[in-house]
Amino acid sequence: MRRQYTHAALVLAVCAPLVWTLCAMLAARAQANPADIFGYGSRSSALGGAVSADVSDASANYYNPGGLGWAEHTEVSLGFVHMAPTLVQDGANAPVGAVNAWQFGLVAPGRFWGLPVSFGLAAQVSGRRIARVVTFTEEDQRWFLYEHRPEQLFLVSNVALRVTPRLSLGGGFGFLASTDGVMRITGELVQPASGATQYDSRLDHEVLAELSSVRYPQLGASLKVLPELDLALVYRGEGKVTLDVDSDIEGNIHFGPLAFPTRYLLFSKTIQSWIPRQLTLGARFAPTPVLDLHVDLTWIDWSGLPSPVSATSSQLSIDTRGALFDTPQLPPATQLSSAHASGRLSPRLGAELRPPWGELGWSLRAGYAYQPTPLDADSSSNLLDADVHVFSFGAGLHLLQWGAGNASGLQLDAQTQWGKLGQRTQAAPGGEETSLTGHWVAVGAGLRLSL
């Protein structure tokens, strides 16, 4: 009887954690945009991201869809960025690796029924990788905004309309992807004995899954007040993917000649992806014809930040048919703790100088951004984060120019960013304190082809 009970426990012990883990795997988390940390586009990143009032290239798809309305020429862009974080917890480096990402952009202006319109598309993908997921439990301490966040696909698409010669309005959607489904594992597990091996196990699997998209809206307005002054207002809506995963293990547990029908059900619910609401007010001021100053102020509503841990529960039913044996214990349902986050104000500054050096057009750029951590100072949490001061520098060069007024051309942009994490002491749920600091470096370059 003891051996028979072991067999019953075996089915559950193997399959329960397996399916539990599979559910956690499917409950892939993708907290926010990778562009929220490192920016998008070489020029915009070099300006500290403070470009909402003066952006008409593909990065307008992220910073201000309304800016697309000022595009005069079709633009195709390709960029590459390397990001290397060094995150330190209690003096030890966290295992958060570097990321390489490709950025693609398209801006296609035209006229529809006589009105200037523009279509824009921007994407960032980490190599061939669309997304990477590494699960963790409630007890694990994680740099949740950095671990694999840059490795999520970033994809936005917008349309802009130039309403008047001074005002352009744009809007569109950013996209997230989620997976949910049901997995079934059935069969017999064989133990090594009497010439048999574990590879004689007759296990089988089925997967029913659905991939769905979740869209978060973007709206932007760009206003040319004066030749020297542009203003912008941008809103980005909240994006949330709620994921439900059910798992089903069904089969017979054999006790000698008797078979006992068994069914194990597991339910998992996760906020897989979450983009906070954001509102940006931006301005560009040109004190001289060769110098632009930029400032953006963004309110990021982190207060709804959900726990990235899956909430799971399970049920087990064994038709014992009167036989006497104990039902194996199941793991308890997950108790999620609050993320303890609040809204934050993030200022950004940028300056762009166009010195008259030779016949080729040069641009020198610098920027600064302050990214406060969304985590409350007096809260205890296993989510790790700290305030970041980001300093950026870059340059642009027109490699080729042609067409009427040299309107068409090929431009090379390059940038480097250094993000310094401020010292932060954070309390874990157990009461112990942990010291956080670090920095990250990003370097990148891009080509913009205007036609």
């Binding site: 954690p17 397996l18 539990w20 035209g110 669309i130 698409s157 996209f175 992807a177 594992i185 899954a209």
Partner: protein
Amino acid sequence: VALALALFGVATNAVATPAALFGAGPASQAMGGTGVSFASDDSAAYINPAGLPNAAKAFAFGVQAARFALTESPASADSLNDESHAILFGVTVPLPFPDPVSDRLVLGLNVSSPGAAIARVAILNESRAQFPLLAPRADALNFNLALGAKLPWGLHVGVGSGLLASLDGKIAIDSGGDAARSVTDDELVLTAAPVVGLEYAPNEAWAFGLVWRSALQSTFDLNVTVENLGSLIVPPLHVTGLAGFDPSELNLEASHVLGSWRLALGVGHRAWSALHTLRDATVQCPPEARPCAALTAHELELRDTWVPRLGVEHVQALGAKAELALRAGYFFEPTPVPAQQGTARVFDNTRHALTAGYGVRFAAPVNLELQMSAQWHHLLPRDHALVRDDRAVTTSTQGEVVGVCWTLGGEF
């Protein structure tokens, strides 16, 4: 519009593409899936990128729906009827480089996505009744990006790629200690299928097209290891399956324009034989442990197919600023799946497809085009010698597929 664009990132678990089932774009779908020699809108990004140089700066968006009425007689307990919906988006953008390549390059994007649900994955036991090459294929993302170039002597060339994504990962479960611990590390990676096309139009009357499209395959592949489960030993588990598959294709087509009529005739070769299984065995037997009693993967034994296509189009003016195009077509799609034997019920039937549709184009300043297509596929009845409950039975499969598509687009 933007919705459909989302989706190359989310093509995670697509099961082949609807374009391979119905064709791309309503004009081609209405003409029996022809277009290799004349498609010049965004659908050329899929059909033949060499047609893109004839495209203007234009966009199109629309919807597509299909209903699958499939039967197994005697009646199956597994539901075989299905339906699919998709959102379509396309854009073509000429790239006005300076001479000598001015007005010669056009970029095209063609996307269809099955609504809010981007793709469905159904990796089923082969003993379940299923038509894996029909409904699941219509419920998958189709994303194609291509560039066409105009060469001298009436030659056009084009290159592009279809995109899907695969899920690869590993799960390590360690049951040592007080509670089971596990580490999951998985990733979605892009898989691409290059497309190369050629179009030759020696004069305004004749056009010839040739396009090769490589196989597009995405997989669902998770390797699971379990350790420290007391004295129990668990073999590595492979939760795997085919998430998407379009076979490599070679399509050849000729079209002739005579006044207001266009006639197109084409043939395509589909290399289905490269697909061996829908899913691998859960427990895979290592060489040192062979032979094993573990379940083995079911071999599909598919064969390559030839698909002939015929399309006709008639264009007539509707007043001074509009024109109407009426279209019809036919294609014959032999099944690559052999008649099923034993317990496997992976069905597919040879199909005759009749197609029709129309397009209304309004000239400037409206610059809009409305297009519609409808397809009716008739699945020829087919018998299978199966085993159910240890008894030999003969079942028959047949069915109908109806698909419709609308798009609205225009130049901008």
